[in-house]
Symmetry: C2
Subunit: 141 residues, 2 copies
DNA sequence: ATAAAAGCTAGAGTGCGCTCTAGGTCAATA
DNA sequence: TATTGACCTAGAGCGCACTCTAGCTTTTAT
């Protein structure tokens, strides 16, 4: 409330672009930001705190529409926390699951890398190129 | 090579849509798939193996262009594995980093959830709603 | 023999999340 | 006084990754 920040400052602070900050406000990810007499935005520390949480939701894959739904809950039911909790809990579980899938994918990629390293060490050809050869043969018929 | 599969079968096997399979071939994620006399696609077991790895790359966030670059390396340098290894290693590191960021984000979300649970238990209001009030006050001036 | 189901291509359309442009105001600096 | 630079709005444009349509042929089931 006391200290207020310009668009430019907030862009620098959050890592979001100036364009994105205006866009986020336009679509309702942010409540309307306070304006000076000439219409320029002034962000409060609380605005920045919300932006930081919002970015976390986005970076964990929450679609913009769902973040808007979350923001709307705060606006419409500021004293009712349970709906927000449920929405966030659902998201948390999705992130958790995604995390587990990624971990598994990483293991497979690591296996493939191990395989490559062995091939490089022994100077052998990649076995999987057979599959490409098959197409070459066919196209030469 | 021996057993071959129809478009429909491969869609079911990989979880990709029929449209997507044709699209992937068109843009070069797959080498041209073998065709029957009437022009219908017939996928080999190797095609499916590559599709499965490809899906893993996509699901770990590798952009299509980069997957194409990877596929091109196999086609152009089937005996040279080191470039492929480097590309894949770079991707692996990005996935690892992403995984760590996600883990951190998850912790913050869990903290927020803890906070919500406490509020629900004590029946208190969410402190963060102050930030929304600020805007309401301003709009009433 | 005919209808339904599966396949084909080229290319248009969609949804998401920005990102940029045009055309303007206002304040401070050279 | 003129110009630079930060800001404003409305709305157009873009890149990605599909997804679907139109109009056609072929195959399979009844």
């Amino acid at each position: 409330m006391t200290t207020e920040f310009t668009l430019r400052q907030v862009a620098k602070a959050t890592g979001l672009s100036i364009h994105t900050l205006r866009y986020y406000e336009k679509v309702g990810l942010l409540a309307p930001i306070f304006r000076t007499a000439n219409g320029h935005r002034r962000y409060s520390a609380e605005d920045i705190a919300w932006l930081e949480f919002l970015v976390r939701l986005r970076e964990t894959g929450m679609p913009i529409k769902k973040v808007i739904a979350f923001a709307d809950l705060v606006r419409q039911h500021p004293n009712e926390v349970s709906e927000r909790r449920m929405l966030l809990e659902e998201h948390r579980n999705q992130v958790k699951q995604h995390l587990e899938e990624l971990t598994h994918h990483l293991q497979v990629i690591d296996l493939k890398l191990e395989h490559y390293k062995q091939l490089e060490a022994t100077g052998e050809n990649d076995h999987s190129c057979i599959f490409w050869k098959h197409h070459l043969e066919k196209s030469l018929e």
